[in-house]
Symmetry: C3
Subunit: 348 residues, 3 copies
């Protein structure tokens, strides 16, 4: 019976698209106008999810979620059909155990404190791993106990796609005789009450032959530790955090040690209108290639599911830093970049 079958799956999604202008988009200082691909105010997606009550407080749960590049109709995450999430699991009062491709703890740790989220102009532009913090071949756990949250993922092969880009770094792992190759461990510990919260995370991923970013041996690794917090001042949220990163690549030239700090606020001007702002600072150790992002965003909610928004942003690139203001964008090395974006977001 179709009607009954339907009730076991929810089809959901978000479509978010718009326009973006940035200056200094190449070495000659030329500007560009685009329909952004990776994200607008949030990345676009289409998903299928469900939950079945198994009795005794136990549930079966699943999610299949496609990343959609609305500008071209293509799949995101290295041509994966369900690149955002693909998992099945069991949920109880003791937490949720999941198996498959899943969002890991580095992304979850910042969700409540990073008021801009994966906005086109955001700290994700500084480290594109943040909105792409997912692990293939992973066992995941997430539990909430009173005001505490604890979570972890363990991946046997963190990224099987070699299509290129931050979500397709070519490390399939699951190699006989090498217990490190392409493994990844992430962990999270958080505390939240109505007034404030704090979340810490740990993330280490290993390389192997063919992996991107110089992680071409199973001994090479990339480690991120974050601390994130927020507090409510009335209806206004103040959120801040830091991420400490240390990459030990196969050759020393590809090593990297950096800190990123961010502080922001989300302030409701009216029931329909929200003003968000954030500053993020990227400090590359032993280098002048540091960058500072400043962004403000105004969102007008047409309904609970639909909004229009506009962002103004600036990236200051010191030394020869070449971090683009917009996620997936380009900037001339050592050039500052300003930009403006506007778009519409619809959830269903």
């Amino acid at each position: 019976h179709p009607a009954m079958a339907q009730s076991q799956v929810t089809v959901y999604g978000i479509l978010d698209s718009g326009l973006v202008y940035t200056n200094n988009s190449n070495a000659a200082g030329d500007s560009v106008v685009k329909v952004p691909g990776l994200t607008g105010s949030v990345p676009s997606r289409l998903g299928f999810r469900g939950a079945e009550d198994l009795g005794g407080g136990l549930q079966a749960v699943f999610v299949l979620e496609s990343g959609v590049n609305v500008d071209t109709g293509t799949m995101g995450q290295g041509n994966r059909l369900f690149g955002r999430q693909a998992y099945v699991g069991l949920k109880s009062a003791y937490g949720t155990l999941t198996l498959g491709r899943q969002i890991n703890m580095t992304f979850l740790a910042a969700v409540k404190s990073d008021v801009m989220g994966p906005n086109l102009f955001s700290m994700s532009s500084i480290d594109l791993y943040i909105p792409n913090a997912r692990s293939d071949n992973a066992i995941g756990y997430l539990g909430a106990f009173n005001d505490f949250t604890v979570g972890a993922t363990y991946s046997l092969g963190r990224d099987a796609s070699a299509a290129g880009g931050p979500a397709a770094t070519g490390c399939a792992g699951e190699v006989a005789g090498d217990a490190k190759a392409c493994r990844q461990v992430t962990g999270l510990l958080g505390y939240d009450n109505k007034a404030w919260g704090v979340t810490a995370s740990y993330d280490i991923l290993y390389g192997n032959t063919g992996a991107a970013a110089g992680l071409t041996t199973s001994g090479s690794s990339d480690k991120r530790v974050t601390l994130n917090g927020y507090t409510m001042l009335g209806a206004t949220k103040i959120g801040l955090g830091l991420m400490d990163r240390k990459k030990v690549a196969a050759t020393r030239a590809n090593d990297l040690e950096s800190d990123m700090y961010y502080v922001g606020a989300s302030h409701p001007l009216s029931p329909a209108l929200t003003l968000d702002g954030q500053v993020a600072r990227h400090d590359v150790k032993g280098s002048a290639n540091d960058s500072t992002l400043t962004v403000v965003r105004l969102t007008y909610n047409l309904s609970k599911r639909t909004a229009v928004y506009s962002s103004l942003g600036h990236m200051r690139n010191g030394g020869l830093a070449a971090i683009a203001l917009d996620a997936g964008g380009t900037v001339g090395a050592g050039l500052n970049q300003s930009g403006v974006s506007a778009g519409v977001r619809h959830a269903f």
Copy 2:
């Protein structure tokens, strides 16, 4: 609540498949039998769409539509997940504004006058751009005012897929410092009443390094202007039109100037049975490589959603013209081609 969430998305589609026989399918004059890939009587698809009432006559709208090659289970449009349409927008009494990958005005202009539509044998075989008239990275507008329709698209990068074929011509655009590269503008103006209608369209697209069909500079362009009309004689529709095309490629050898004329009729033999016929003439300027298509189709509607059909077609290729009768097919250069197809179409 799943049931509520479901009501925000409509899953819809059309599956259309069958068999096709054509003679003279290679230079040796051999025939071939196939399950067609690109289309039967219409191209197959699976889509997700929705609309939300925002009050005051305003709506949020979205479409995500996959092109499906039923013969092999693959995606169409250059391996795009949602290659037919992927957009989000706002709709009001003043028209609909959309952002994303969308059908452009060259396709829409002929919809009411071209009685065969994207049939396997149709004028689409002469110019495969017609059923693939879509633009990536586009802003679209379509409005209807009394009996008038006006529409336009503006694309900042018309075709980001380089997979090959008419829907994947490798022109991603959005290049800093080049305001022409891979841009595309299309426009439409139409008038319709119950007895007749006429629609004109304009379409110019630009190239860039790596683009297909010799459009390898941003100065090179391909322009199509169409005029289409129809009239009702009782229940019988007579539709006709012309398309004027001028391609200025990077090198003169790839230039092309051509006209296409078509005239057809759609006649209901009974409530369930429809007979369609069309003749289309392709005139390549300064060349004997002209072609003439003749096609008749009989459709038997088993219900409003399901039909079986058969088409008989002939392509006359003058000079060394090598335009296949069937969309995506092959023919020996300068050979005429006859064919027959039959299939079943189901909409859901």
Copy 3:
């Protein structure tokens, strides 16, 4: 009206994932731990299907079914969007006629007798064609008359994907002037009553330039004939069968002649708990490279739709046979392999 439209499509699927350990996974005898990709207890999928009553006992039917690799979120079957099934057809009391990509008779013939089905450890590991017995560009027929079942597929081009692997063998066919290239014919005849059943199948597929497994001419072929049967001993099913295979490749070095025999049982220990076991023997003619699979599986049904399971398996590889215990796995040539898997399966 969305609600009405929804009732015309059923969204359904199965997600099945877990962990697998195998020893001797390479020539050095190293072991490996993985999240399996191709299957757990059954392959994961997401599908869209529907049926419309056309009156007089006639129905229109369709299926679009994606194979999903839950471990990485990717598509299966050589990057096909709907690689498991993509067809439209008409169904009546005389049987169902279908057009498109479809499961062929070699898979269907063993469904009732092979108690392990496409389990990660199963006879599918010996011949990965069995769970991938599908044909592109096919006309299919399946009819049931009293206790008899008869079916056939005829493919004009059996496998259009050249991505590699058992579901992407690079034989698109539909070649003008070659009535054999990449064609495939499969047939089935079965009888079932409440106590026992028997099904036989025939399958011959042809090659062409570029096809995998040495079938690089349209004269080369791979033929499989199967005989399968089962009987119920109370609630316990005993199933057994044999597959005779003969491959005539383009060069004699790629020829293959083999038999596979299997026998198994499925026994309900309790309403919730099922024990399955199977032995399969692969006998390569004129060679010592024979293999024997032994597998037992315990399934605990948490509901009708959700289960957890664990399998224990062993593959004995004689000579230089290198058949891995797990589907898509690896084993050192001539090494035996033991393994254990566990996972969760959820249908929706």
